[in-house]
Symmetry: C2
Subunit: 382 residues, 2 copies
Amino acid sequence: MPGEEEFVVTPYEVRGRIDYDRLRELFGTQALTPELLAKIHRLAGGELHPAIRRGIFYSHRDLGSLLDGYANGRPFFLYSGRGPSGPLHTSHLLHFDLCQWFQRRFGVPMYLQITDDEKFWARSGLSREETVRWGYENLYDILALGFDPKRTHTFFDSRSIAALYPLAIRVARKIPYSTVKAVFGFEPSTNIGLTFYTALQTVPAFWPSWAEGRTIPCLIPCGIDQDPHFRVTRDIAEGLGYPKPALLHSQMVPGLLGEGAMSTSGERADNSLFLNDPPEVVDRKVRHAFTGGRATVEEQRRLGATPEICSVWAQWRMRFAESEEKFEQVTRDCRSGALLCGDCKSEILERIHAFYDQHAIAREKVKDWAESTIVASAPKDL
Amino acid sequence: MPGEEEFVVTPYEVRGRIDYDRLRELFGTQALTPELLAKIHRLAGGELHPAIRRGIFYSHRDLGSLLDGYANGRPFFLYSGRGPSGPLHTSHLLHFDLCQWFQRRFGVPMYLQITDDEKFWARSGLSREETVRWGYENLYDILALGFDPKRTHTFFDSRSIAALYPLAIRVARKIPYSTVKAVFGFEPSTNIGLTFYTALQTVPAFWPSWAEGRTIPCLIPCGIDQDPHFRVTRDIAEGLGYPKPALLHSQMVPGLLGEGAMSTSGERADNSLFLNDPPEVVDRKVRHAFTGGRATVEEQRRLGATPEICSVWAQWRMRFAESEEKFEQVTRDCRSGALLCGDCKSEILERIHAFYDQHAIAREKVKDWAESTIVASAPKDL
């Protein structure tokens, strides 16, 4: 059945079992080569972020030339965003962790966009009060990952619109409706907020160059599903006099139930580990999580398990194996049958709980300065 | 040839000889009846604005109930706007004059929108610097007509976006792309700024009710060509908990060259009397203006002229006959052949020059307080 191999990846829908190499070909992006990994490693002072090393980040656009520019004294900035429709889940940490790592290792600014307007437009069930409340909750969670208060700037759309809009006016004139219709698959019934939105999502990629009146390259780490958004951004960049943003794409983190990506939507809440889940809920979700194990213990001891299809292994791979040695050991022991799923879950649960405890403390501290990162105005108004 | 009788009226195009009664039927609006005129006259303290009395304002939606509410102690507010693509011309004074009259006679607030973003989106030849510059120039001209600084509030879009956007987010979710496509005839090539724009044009109609947390009816005097914009506004009003704005529609003022409406576009500059035209240009344009006169003086003395097709008579009718007696006299003498076109033009030129002189003085004074009318923030952010 050919239908079983079909998959759909758009900024608003991820469906089916994704063939990532095929997706990279479809999207026309570049592979993250060993040479590029070595370059990142060298420029980062001899370190590679685990999610890069473990292949979760696997695709890019123009990362090489951005890094060459950096090596030659031209700093870049990071840009990432979050649509605040509910609590963050652990897979969201992936991109923000990576941004924080780049900020720390490369000493560059981070621009974060909280798209409380877009989520209101995209989800008819959400109220404005909810998107704003989740905007702040998400902002605290993100900043608590270790961002530098002095180098981190937040565009909280509804609160930063005065800063964003002058540039959004220029951007929007460059984007015909036909482009957003083709790229995002919008329907005639799509509201005019959502069809406008890509203009606002484009702005942060150019904002520092515009505001400071000089060329500052942009690096956007994002899920490969967000590539179409930024393809529009890249297409219009040069016509507005700004460099095309470089992209660094990740694969999607599989849900705990073993299908699709983790989702924030309520009905599949058990598919994701939310950062506001209490410990007993985390326990339950991980205990029920889909794994690559066998039907019986005996069989698993004999044949080993399959990490590649396991949602728990995805968590190890993503962030909860803090060292490469640990990650390789878990993977090896899983494959050989030495590590059973129950024991593996106990071990990762310990690590997850430790992270949640430490995160809760960091999150409280962040509330003192989170608001100060919100950009409320621009140095220019044209 | 049926083609000769066709006309097109949309917010972005006015073409052909307009049959106003037919247009009212097509648009489904109400006629301004003698009963309604009497009601306005009474509530205005025994006065009727000349442009209402002379039939230029001829159509409405819900004006009767708005006035009944006013009579029962429920004040309304006025809302009008301007797309700043160039200098104002005398026909633009029509709506702003009327607003100023309503403000003075009814003691109500005026909300003025300067759509510097929309004009940038609608006219690819205009720069942002130009739309902002014209925005201020137009604002000075409008306020100089006699608006009350304490009761007049300006939404200068790019400068007022922080005030407008929270409500625009809610409005935009209510408007599907299919609606703006059908109403405005947008093409796939139309940019996403322009397709979004009707959300921002809708906001002022609800803004006072939203900001003050109570129901305040809105009256929008506008050209009948702008009715489609506000039909969208009316359609979504109740779903958002606001009253439908009442509309008061004018006919289009014919151009000096005798065809189409006055236009700001450069190529037909002689078709309009710009407020920044120097006296000799005003003279030249009026001297060359199309009239309803005859081929020879002798013929005109004998048969009379036709005011209804005369662009100069349109100026008398609109504002330059300050009294009804004068207007009736000019019209009567034109029809009878007693007043020749050259003499009529000399007389109206005197009045136009007197207005320009007085306006230039008022305009300078306005610059002291124009900026203070610009609404930069809202009392609410949700």
